[in-house]
């Protein structure tokens, strides 16, 4: 099996391509700013004792956002609470993020997860605050089902370096490859001594590509290609988008080089983000906690006798 490194870094030659490139870079960079601002706010609220444990994405947010950006509606994004930036890239609003973080009655998941553990059935996002690797197997199964049903949907699972050691990874990559699951596995975060997955992948017979963790456009392209292949029945891909050194803000640099993102536009963006965050925070702080009787709701599709409400 060949394990090429992605190099399709958008070499389009005409004006249309340039525009597309520009809009993609703009999306990556602005979503990155939104995610960074949200993370800073959540961390502040956690330190003030207002929120439970927050898992910051840090520099991994570049990969999270770019990977999610390559998905289509109907795809499923899985990850851990740390992957909140990917949910933003799929359309999660600041307000939804803050209602979830505060666990209010307005949270679509009824205030049941730690900050960042977004579950959104409409956007197709499931981020867990539990086992850091179980969702890899879920992605394999979702992608297997998609192939069986012959539908152009994929599952994408984000994961960190520690998950590489877990038995779940062994199961997920093996099952996914065996059944040509329409699944994509994206490693993000620091490469802290683990073997790059391009080198480990032969064990599972899965296609693997490696992309610099700070090159959002390259990650987007690699995931888009993986998606196209998966949907075409060519099987799953592991994209190793981990950073093995300090981050270079490549997307921002590319944006500058391409368009000269003017400072006033930048300022506008920052202002818009700040205002939106303030409003979102206000809404979440004003929202009540979930009603007591929700404690015993949504355990099952029905409500058997033993699930009375607390008084």
């Amino acid at each position: 099996m060949t394990v090429p490194t992605s190099t399709t870094n958008g070499e389009g030659s005409d004006e249309g391509d340039r525009k597309a490139q520009l809009s993609r870079l703009l999306r990556l960079v602005t979503t990155g700013l939104e995610a960074a601002a949200l993370e800073a706010l959540l961390m502040r609220l956690m330190r003030d004792g207002r929120l439970a444990t927050v898992s910051p994405a840090g520099d991994a947010r570049v990969a999270m956002i770019a990977a999610a950006a390559a998905l289509a509606p109907g795809d499923l994004l899985l990850g851990t609470a740390r992957d909140l930036p990917a949910a933003l890239a799929r359309g999660l609003t600041f307000e939804a993020a803050l209602q979830q973080a505060f666990g209010t009655a307005a949270d679509t998941a009824l205030g049941r997860g730690l900050p960042g553990a977004i579950h959104d059935g409409v956007l197709g996002v499931g981020l867990t605050d539990g086992n850091i690797a179980s969702h890899l197997t879920h992605a394999a199964g979702f992608g297997h089902a998609a192939r069986l049903r012959g539908e152009p949907r994929v599952a994408l699972a984000l994961f960190g370096g520690a998950a590489q050691a877990h038995g779940e990874l062994h199961a997920a990559l093996n099952f996914a490859a065996l059944y040509r699951a329409q699944a994509i596995f994206v490693a993000r975060g620091p490469l802290a001594g683990e073997l790059p997955l391009t080198e480990a992948a032969p064990a599972w017979g899965i296609r693997a590509v490696r992309v610099p963790g700070d090159d959002g456009l390259a990650i987007w392209d690699a995931v888009a290609e993986a998606r196209a292949r998966a949907v075409a029945g060519e099987g799953p891909t592991v994209v190793d988008a981990r950073l093995d050194g300090p981050l270079t803000p490549r997307d921002a640099q590319a944006l500058q080089a391409l368009s000269g993102w003017p400072p006033e536009r930048q300022r506008e963006t920052h202002d818009r983000i700040d205002r939106a965050l303030v409003a979102a925070r206000r809404a979440a702080e004003a929202a009540p906690p979930p009603a007591l009787e929700t404690l015993t709701e949504a355990v099952f599709s029905d409500r058997p006798w033993h699930l009375r409400s607390p008084e």
């Binding site: 499931g126 199964g141 099952f175």
Partner: protein, 336 residues
């Protein structure tokens, strides 16, 4: 017994054994709903070690009767993923003794996905797995793990003891929008024989079956312990002692009323199960019955169970509840 073919079956009820009834239910479910897929070790071409899936691979193809690698976490984990897609996967774990490598997926993912997403994501997965001993299976082919799953909020747990119930409950389980642990009593896979209607029907989850009425002592048992209790009841009836035998069928959520109604009349309750006694499901039933029927009880609720040891091999019949042990317990309850 003579089992006719599936197509001929449309004509009327057939006499079959419990594992055939399981296979029949799977065929009906798969024919009725494309979203139903089976997956497990050796379930495809080979038809499963107990032949539960025999013929299904030929009929429905390798994409719907999926042979998997030996990895229970992978089997259950991918089933969760398939369910998130909208399928109705029915994984088989070859022996319930080997379900534990997938335990994390069951208790932390399958059981919690609906709750943790506030009802947005559901996991209609039915895990089929054989339970029970007395078949010379030793530690690892004999266990009865129901209590682990009953203790886990978010799971429904089913264990039939007749072919009729096996088929009807399995169809209801597969169509339920909730995760179901469907425990199949393998000691009576072939011994339990009965009439099974052709085609489609469901036995609703959460309703007990009264295998026998009797107002002296109320026996509660499931799976392979039901015929043991029935035999004990027959023997006791010869001595003028009439026992009710309640088979909950759905272990959780339990049809508690079916039990308490009868205990209110009998004042005596004996629970029988194969699993080790301590923290077994018998403890929960005992706790519930004394909570609800306290003023009616003439004797403590007692339990006839497996011992608190790993499942043995040579001495398995000393380990398992026997007719004699059930009879003794009933008599002790009456003497109290």
């Amino acid at each position: 017994m003579t089992a006719t073919t599936t197509t001929a079956a449309k004509a009327g009820p057939r006499t079959m054994n419990l594992v055939q009834a399981v296979g029949d239910a799977l065929a009906v479910a798969m024919a009725a709903d494309e979203r139903v897929v089976l997956l497990g070790e050796d379930i495809g071409k080979f038809g499963g070690v107990f032949r539960a899936t025999a013929g299904l691979h030929e009929r429905f193809g390798a994409d719907r009767v999926i042979d998997t690698p030996l990895n229970e976490a992978g089997i259950i984990g991918t089933a969760v993923g398939m369910a998130l897609y909208g399928m109705r996967p029915v994984p088989e774990i070859q022996f319930s003794d080997f379900i534990y490598p997938g335990f994390d997926h069951i208790v932390n993912e399958l059981a919690k996905y609906r709750y943790r997403s506030g009802g947005q994501f559901t996991c209609p997965v039915t895990i089929r797995t054989p339970v029970g001993g007395g078949i010379r299976g030793g530690h690892y082919h004999s266990q009865s793990p129901e209590a682990y799953f009953i203790h886990t909020p978010g799971l429904k747990v089913v264990c039939p003891s007749t072919p009729y119930d096996a088929k009807g409950l399995l169809l209801a389980s597969i169509r339920s929008d909730d995760p179901v642990l469907f425990l199949e009593p393998k000691p009576i896979y072939r011994k339990a024989i009965g009439e099974v209607p052709a085609g489609d029907y469901e036995v609703p989850l959460g309703q007990a079956r009264v295998a026998r009425e009797g107002d002296d002592v109320t026996l509660v048992a499931w799976g392979a312990m039901v015929p043991v209790c029935e035999e004990a009841a027959t023997r006791l009836s010869g001595e003028g002692i009439e026992c009710a035998v309640i088979d909950p069928r759905t272990l959780w959520p339990l049809d508690l009323d079916a039990i308490t109604e009868r205990v209110e009349r009998s004042g005596r309750c004996v629970i029988v199960h194969e699993a080790p006694r301590t923290c077994g499901f018998g403890a929960e039933i005992a706790a519930l019955v004394q909570e609800r029927c306290f003023l009616h009880l003439e004797a403590p609720v007692t339990r006839v169970t497996g011992f608190d040891v790993p499942f043995p091999h040579t001495l398995e019949h000393a380990y398992l509840p026997s007719v004699a042990r059930v009879v003794d317990a009933v008599e002790a309850s009456l003497r109290y």
